[in-house]
Amino acid sequence: MLKIENLKASIEGKSILNGINLDIKPGEVHAIMGPNGAGKSTLSAVLAGRNDYEVTEGVVDFLGKDLLDMSPEDRAREGLFLAFQYPIEIPGVSTTNFLKTAINEKRKYLGLEPMEATDFLKFMRSKMEEMEMDKSLTSRSLNEGFSGGEKKRNEVFQMAMLEPKLAILDETDSGLDIDALRLVSAGVNKLRNPDRSFLVITHYQRLLDYIVPDFVHVLYKGRIVKSGDASLAKELEVKGYDWIKQEVEAAV
């Protein structure tokens, strides 16, 4: 699905990703943890195609295509989705119109006819029910005046609508109340299937109780310094990052 090799990226001359290697196979859930400022959001932004970052080295293969060579919109149309850590508000753009445009642009790219308006609304309604999205949210401008948690839920709702092949969730659990966390996790689990993969960035083991990962990686100073199974997250919960940092410093 996604194969990252020796990915290095910098911003304004400051190097942030220092050689990332990661291989995600179809159906797998990978979790990335790591201290603040490690480069987790940078990695997801580089994968989604944000051009503030300069990729200085490395290749990323996504479903047999050179991901880094594609525009952000083509990456999305090929099946990549990023749930942002800090979703922005876009006043004046209605959620409905935005999603309809997104879905139909993707369909056009795939050589499909645009979705009929009534089919779209039916589809949207079913996804709203599934994600327990209140109608008052989707009838507003995109994220405008949404609470922090509502914005996060809207990201997962968009993911459900766009049915990506690979979803990157950047701290989607931060700021969610307990019910919302359960709902979001259930939403993700519902979408889990042998052809769809997830890259879940989180600070908390709690999320991984709901979305059980196949692999857990620790990102530190722009490198994956440790990988393991779900038990690694539990270990981090107890021990924190210091022991890993020490291991890294000792190796240098």
């Binding site: 525009s71 919109e73 999305a76 935005f98 997104a102």
Partner: protein, 428 residues
């Protein structure tokens, strides 16, 4: 012949006519002011970025003559989708075949100036020429040699059921056209009306349209006023709208500038009573080498009034826009609430905006804010939309439409909103 010479020679011709019209004394005085003040130059602070010198040299003719028939004029864009009363002027002269009147109330009047002066002398004399700052050169020029125009009168307590569409068509097929429409709108106590000014142009020659509107809104009355500028081609347009409002009045004014080589809108609100509510909104979308200047002034002369002004621009290519908004809060005008914003998005490196929001406050208990922004489309929302599979082009359109909708939603005629949306689609 430059413009000043032309006005002088036309005025001489007028003066030597055996039969002068009823406006002789008024015209003569205005002409003297015009001779004294002339056409503003860029040395005048209010015209610093707005250069009339090229226009002065073009050479125009004043002529009612148009070979276009009613059908052709309708096709030119009379906004027929809007069910409305209509009065149409071509090159400044009334075109009665296209008039439409839907009101049942006989006391509401819409006619041309020449007729109004004769048939409604009392009201006419009370208001005509009473509000306009004549020392402005172009206003004096209009007063000296005005063409015809509309006289709209809604007597006390009456409301117009339909909007009134005042269409001005420039037919520059035969020659370069100069026209000077002059409109007078009187809304008496507790009356209400909606007026749409609609400017369009046909033909390949140049034109200069120099409009003056005098609008009087008496106590407890309300007015919806829309100006739609769609005069395509090599058209130059100056518009001075003077609004005088008495206590407890509500005015909603929206200025949409879409076409025209050179457009200067002057809008002056004089709040002459307490509890006035004045809304001034504008949208301009120039492209190519278009020039658009929105000059406004709001005089808060009495206490407890509210004004909200927001002008937004989207500039393409080598277009240039000027915004100059002055809010004057006079000594007496305590408890004034006044807001003013000018926001611009530049879609090209060659586009230019000169903006000057101004606030002059002489009262001490007021709430006023003003501000201006000029910038590109924000990167963050662009990336958000693109990351969902929306192309750069579509994302830009969504964001620009959202930017413009903020003004479109101030328009209370759904058909006009729809027309505007089509125009935005065309321009973007």
């Amino acid at each position: 012949m430059n413009l000043v010479q032309q006005i002088e020679s036309e005025f001489k011709l007028y003066e030597h006519q055996a039969q002068k019209d009823d406006f002789f004394e008024y015209r003569k005085k205005a002409f003297q002011t015009f001779q004294k003040n002339g056409i503003p130059t860029i040395k005048n602070e209010e015209w610093k970025y707005t250069n009339l010198s090229k226009i002065s040299e073009i050479g125009f003719q004043t002529s009612c003559i148009s070979n276009l028939d009613a059908d052709a004029l309708v096709k030119a864009g009379i906004l027929n989708k809007i069910e409305s009363n209509k009065i149409v002027f071509v090159n400044g002269c009334l075109f009665p075949e296209l008039s439409v009147w839907l009101e049942d109330e006989p006391s509401i009047i819409c006619t041309n100036l020449a007729k109004a002066r004769k048939e409604h002398a009392a009201i006419f004399e009370t208001h005509f020429g009473k509000y306009l700052p004549q020392e402005e050169g172009l206003n004096a020029m209009n007063s000296a040699l005005m063409s015809d125009g509309a006289f709209i009168y809604v007597p006390a307590g009456k409301r117009m059921k339909y909007p009134l569409m005042l269409t001005n068509i420039t037919d520059a097929n035969e020659s370069n056209i100069l026209q000077q429409p002059r409109n007078l709108i009187v809304i008496e106590k507790s009356a209400a009306a909606t007026v749409i000014e609609n400017y369009i142009a046909v033909g390949d020659n140049s034109s200069f349209t120099n409009v003056v509107n005098e609008i009087f809104v008496d106590e407890n009355a309300s007015l919806e006023h829309y100006k739609v500028q769609r005069a395509k081609g090599d058209s130059y347009h100056n518009n001075y709208t003077q609004i005088v409002q008495n206590a407890n009045t509500n005015i909603n004014q929206v200025t949409l500038t879409l076409d025209g080589q050179w457009v200067r809108n002057n809008l002056h609100f004089n709040m002459n009573g307490e509890n006035c509510n004045s809304l001034l909104y504008g949208l301009y979308i120039p492209d190519g080498q278009q020039f658009v200047d929105n000059h406004s002034r709001v005089d808060h002369a009495k206490p407890n009034c509210f004004s909200d002004e927001k002008y937004k621009g989207i500039l393409k290519d080598k277009s240039v826009a000027v915004f100059n908004g002055k809010i004057m809060v006079h000594l007496d005008a305590q408890k004034t609430n006044a807001y003013q914003r000018n926001q611009n998005i530049l879609l090209s490196n060659d586009a230019t905006v000169n903006t000057k929001p101004q606030l002059e406050i002489f009262a001490d208990d007021v709430k006023c804010t003003h501000g201006a922004t000029i910038g590109q489309l924000d990167e963050e929302p662009m990336f958000y939309l693109r990351s969902r599979g929306i192309s750069e082009n579509e994302a830009r359109k969504l964001l620009l439409n959202a930017f413009a909708d903020d003004i479109a939603e101030k328009i209370k005629i759904p058909e006009l909103v729809q027309i505007l949306e089509e125009e935005i689609e065309r321009k973007l």
